[in-house]
């Protein structure tokens, strides 16, 4: 009734394929087929944001997309943030420095949503940050340190851009 299909995506710059039933969500495809378990699943019905990834540069909930719908698309997941040698991405660095995480379950989703925000608004206000991250739930931090982390990441990344122009 629902025969398997081949899905090919570009994840974090690498071409990857897998075979799935149409009912497989993008989140399950990333985790179970491609072994990219950094993308977390909390609620599996669109409420918590833990599964947030970037699809062609925009944040989406990977539990609310079918893997077959992502065929041919470009994805970025938390595994694609740190540099080859393990050096943290400025957003990861800032979350660590500002205690923007405790248990870390929600963190991959927050990092990806933050990346989208900073690509659209390099100098976001606190209000913009809270609004952009409103779809991501965290049971540990109380959000305050997450907001501080995003402000810090924005500052670092603006500095990096300025430095690379100089």
């Amino acid at each position: 009734m629902s025969e398997r299909r081949t899905v090919t995506v570009e994840v974090n710059g690498e071409r990857r394929s897998g075979s799935v039933e149409p009912r497989t969500t993008l989140a399950d495809f990333l985790r179970d087929e491609l072994g990219l378990t950094g993308t977390h699943l909390g609620c599996e019905h669109g409420v918590c944001g833990a599964c947030t990834v970037l699809l062609d540069g925009r944040s989406v909930r990977s539990c609310l997309m079918l893997a077959v719908q992502a065929d041919g698309c470009s994805l970025r997941t938390v595994e694609g943030l740190a540099a080859e040698g393990g050096e943290l991405h400025p957003v990861q660095e800032a979350f660590s420095a500002e205690h923007g995480l405790q248990c870390g379950f929600c963190t991959p989703g927050f990092l990806m949503a933050t990346l989208e925000l900073l690509s659209e608004s390099p100098q976001p206000s606190e209000e913009q940050i809270r609004s952009h991250l409103s779809g991501n739930l965290c049971r540990c931090t109380g959000y305050h340190h997450i907001v501080k982390a995003v402000l810090r990441a924005a500052e670092t990344m603006r500095g990096d851009v300025a430095a690379s122009r100089a």
């Binding site: 629902s2 944001g49 539990c63 609310l64 079918l66 077959v68 925000l117 809270r130 409103s134």
Partner: protein, 291 residues
């Protein structure tokens, strides 16, 4: 793997989608943004035999402002409407409402047509369409037809559309002349479905209200037009007393449900307050135009 198995068709054209839906009969379902349908699949509250994905159908995502008319393709994402500069200028209530739909990641995927077809009485789009004299164009193997927003909603999560009909386009209109609008809602947290929402459109000639449309979300099993209040305001002076009277009339005429998010009495009270504020904001918008 949470959803039950289904057959999946990625339609590349509207005709392909219509043919696949016709083949599937009662067991077919359109998949647009998936932001309402996929949760239902995951919870197995929906168990379609065939999902017809319309995301690859070209030409269904345009957003066009033509003077006082707004035309939106069914596949336009909430986020695209929210960020559209022309919409912001000509239909500020639409931008304001679109920005209140869920969260950014939801708005990146969720579509206008999906929201209109899903018929959630707490959703923004259905109330907007009622206030903006809206209509939808639907296609089926029998051809095209236009359904006015007033004839679209039959009950909770239920439209008057047939299972093989696909919403192609959504259209909205503002009255000509000096017109002010407002969209306000109350939600517990940003991105939550509103407890009550109000879309208000007001046109004034001289000091008199020439046209008033008021639509509410969250106060019934469908989006609700407050006709009593609209009639009360038509021809009245657009002053605070008339606006307060219209708000009282709304409180009288609605019959909201009560649930864990708010009792019926609470919703009635909130509706009155939001109507008063929305009408005042719409009137003040007109005032600023003249100034």
């Amino acid at each position: 793997m949470k959803p039950a198995p289904f057959e999946y068709v990625a339609a590349r054209s509207l005709d392909e989608a219509l043919a696949a839906l016709a083949d599937a009969g009662e067991g077919g379902k359109v998949l647009a943004g998936g932001q309402s349908l996929v949760p239902l699949l995951a919870l197995r509250l929906a168990r379609p035999d065939v999902l017809v994905d319309v995301n690859q159908v070209a030409g269904l995502d345009r957003v066009v402002v033509d003077d006082h008319r707004l035309v939106i393709g069914a596949l336009a994402r909430h986020r695209a409407v929210e960020l559209d500069e022309q919409v912001r200028r000509a239909f500020p209530l639409v931008s304001a409402a679109a920005a209140k739909i869920g969260h950014v990641a939801i708005r990146n995927r969720g579509t206008v047509g999906g929201s209109v077809a899903h018929a959630d009485p707490a959703a923004e789009w259905p109330a907007l369409l009622l206030a903006l004299d809206g209509e939808v164009e639907v296609a089926s193997p029998r051809g095209r037809r236009v359904v006015s927003a007033g004839d679209l909603y039959a009950g909770y999560l239920t439209t008057t559309l047939e299972v093989d009909e696909v919403v192609c386009e959504v259209r909205a209109t503002l009255p000509e002349g000096r017109t002010g609008t407002s969209f306000l809602e109350l939600a517990r947290r940003e991105g939550d479905f509103a407890i009550v929402g109000v879309a208000a459109v007001l046109a004034i000639e001289g000091d008199e209200v020439r046209h008033c449309r008021l639509a509410l979300s969250g106060v019934g099993s469908t989006p609700v037009r407050a006709r009593g209040a609209e009639e009360l305001l038509a021809g009245a002076a657009a002053d605070d007393a008339a606006i307060a009277a219209a708000a009282r009339e709304v409180v009288e005429e609605i019959d909201p449900p009560g649930d864990i998010h708010g009792s019926a009495d609470y919703r009635r009270k909130v509706a009155g307050v939001l109507v008063r504020r929305a009408l005042s904001a719409a009137r003040d918008e007109i005032g600023r135009m003249v100034a």
